[in-house]
């Protein structure tokens, strides 16, 4: 009988914090600036410059630690991780090795197999590196330090996961909590959340762990799932062939569906950590911790309970809407404006989710404002537009956040409520389609659908279907 293997997975998740400035200097963290326009002597590693910790970074890190049931290190400090690479101008990264800010936590995940807790070994604060671009023309590399010094937290899990499904459940849970906290937008595609997968296999029932590899360059849930399955297969094949798994860092190529061993950042991986003498230790007082605790937002469980009490919408809607902080905020703000929870929920659960899925977008990418969604609902309530036009307008809102009221006005999409005009259109359709009219009169009820369609076409979609139906029946 073939051997049974178990996959053992631990994750290192880097999350870019939503601060306005970098971790150790007053440079902006805004995305997309021209190269090196957000740099200063500190984040380009100039001798004599002095890093000073951004207070907000510590508060976000502690907030994430509290949300993931960690013990907060009340006296923590920063260490230097030494390595040479041009994206790292100091030749060391400021990180935390000896006293990370959070330790020994865990989050509960739910999969088809049931609930389980994934342990969190530690969370530490560190700085991001710059971006390297390779210039083929000049045969050199170019560096943009705008990202250098952007604050990150690294969340290191215990090796508690056994499948890709558990890994995704864990990442989704982390992402939701961090988004609820407002500590990051956690976009995998844009790199504000990055996951490195540590994976090993062992024979089912074995007590020890197998040799693990670390997989990098995973920027979607799909890539993570593919990489886990690919690496599991690769390791099992090696073991079955009597070979050994080599402990190394591998880069996943999702297009090719395979990984390859990365050239290491230096010949020897020896980071020679030591305490950073430029940064003073951080002591988290009882009062400060209490303040951060008190400022924790309403999390999903509380939000769900409140929605059940406050809004008359189905539990299923509540579950879907609260799964994303962005959706929940949009829902609440729109309801505040128009007072119609069920209608708001219908737009979010229906068209919004459909378009997000179709375009491969996340709720965080939604561009339309609560004001505009409320405006669209008002237009449909007043029967100023019919549901087909409303969907068209919504698609425009989804694309460009247009003002629906202005748009409908400008494009002349308002429903024609002038009964005279509609009556004339219906009369024209009747005289132009004698065959269908005869079918209808001979008892073929369905023929009226064709006539309604023809009328709508003549009215360029701007008629109230109810009224068209009534007029047709009357005139036939």
């Amino acid at each position: 009988m073939a051997k049974q293997y178990e996959t053992v997975i631990g994750l290192e998740v880097h999350v870019e914090l939503a601060t306005k400035t970098k971790i150790f200097c007053g440079c902006s963290t805004a995305f997309g600036g021209a190269p090196n326009t957000h740099t200063c002597p500190v984040c380009t590693g100039m001798p004599g410059s002095l890093p000073v910790l951004n207070k907000k970074v510590l508060e976000y890190a502690v907030a994430v630690g509290l949300a993931t049931n960690c013990t907060i290190t009340r006296y923590c400090k920063f260490d230097r991780k030494n390595y040479f690479y041009p994206d790292n101008p100091q030749n060391y990264q400021i990180s935390q090795l000896y006293l990370p800010i959070c330790r020994d936590g865990g989050v509960e995940i739910e999969t088809a197999a049931g609930k389980k807790t994934v342990g969190i070994h530690e969370i530490h604060m560190e700085e991001d590196a710059g971006k390297l671009i390779h210039d083929e023309w000049e045969d050199c590399s170019l560096v943009d330090y705008n990202r250098s010094g952007v604050p990150l937290i690294e969340i290191v899990s215990e090796p508690d996961m056994r499948s890709a499904e558990e890994v995704i459940a864990y990442l989704e849970k982390l992402r939701m909590m961090i988004q609820y906290l407002g500590a990051s937008d956690c976009k995998l595609q844009e790199g504000s959340m990055r996951a490195d997968v540590n994976l090993s296999v062992r024979e089912a029932g074995a007590a020890g762990f197998g040799t693990r590899t670390e997989m990098k360059n995973l920027n979607s849930f799909r890539a993570i799932t593919n990489a886990i399955e690919g690496e599991r297969e690769r390791q099992i094949e090696l073991l079955e062939a009597g070979k050994k798994v080599v402990q190394e860092t591998r880069r996943w190529d999702d297009a090719k569906g395979e990984s390859y061993a990365m050239r290491s950042k230096e010949d020897a991986q020896d980071y020679r950590y030591f305490p950073d003498p430029d940064l003073v230790p951080v002591a988290v007082s009882d009062e400060w911790l209490a303040q951060i605790k008190a400022a924790q937002p309403e999390f999903r469980t509380e939000k769900m309970a409140r929605y059940q009490a406050e809004y008359d919408i189905p539990d299923y809607d509540i579950e879907i809407i609260t799964a994303s902080k962005r959706m929940a905020d949009l829902f609440e703000e729109t309801v505040k404006l128009c007072g119609q929870p069920k209608k708001v929920s219908n737009w979010l659960m229906g068209e919004t989710l459909r378009l997000l899925k179709e375009k491969g977008m996340e709720p965080e990418d939604i561009r339309f404002s609560p004001e505009h969604l409320a405006g669209l609902i008002r237009l449909t309530d007043e029967k100023a537009i019919n549901s087909t036009v409303a969907k068209e307008v919504f698609e425009m809102m989804f694309e460009e956040d247009i003002d629906p009221e202005k748009y409908v006005e400008e494009k002349g999409l308002k429903t024609v409520s002038d009964e005279g005009a509609l009556r004339r259109a219906v009369e024209d359709v009747i005289s132009a389609n004698p065959k269908s009219v005869e079918d209808y009169r001979n008892g073929k009820e369905k023929a009226i659908g064709f006539l309604v369609g023809q009328t709508m076409k003549a009215m360029k979609g701007k008629a109230e279907p109810g009224m068209v139906n009534r007029l047709l029946k009357e005139l036939l």
Binding site: T21, S28, P35, N36, T44, S141, V280, P281
Partner: protein, 97 residues
């Protein structure tokens, strides 16, 4: 000298520091490093039982910045420190993973 630095150690330290040392330089560095370690060993003679490891020379803690942007665009100044420049970026020798 109590601490003898082996050829392998000096080779390894050289790799970490990205230094290419001649045979002569290696011998000199081995001696220097041995002497430094002897000096550090001296500190080991002290009784540090119950003394907390020091993390900073000054008795200072909790020095923070507020999360407010204070720096403007300093690109031109920063690029003056660059070994080379192209398209507003620091030009460095070709590096790849």
């Amino acid at each position: 000298m109590a601490n003898i630095i082996s050829d392998e150690t000096i080779e390894y330290v050289g790799i970490l520091a990205k230094l290419e040392l001649s045979e002569e330089e290696k011998e000199a560095a081995k001696k220097d490093m041995g002497r430094m370690l002897d000096y550090i060993d001296k500190l080991g003679e002290l009784d540090t039982e119950g003394v907390e490891p020091m993390s900073h020379v000054f008795a200072v803690q909790n020095v923070f910045r507020e999360d407010v942007v204070t720096n403007g665009d300093m690109r031109e100044e920063m690029l003056q420190n660059a070994p080379g420049e192209k398209d507003g970026m620091f030009m460095v020798p070709r590096t790849f993973e």
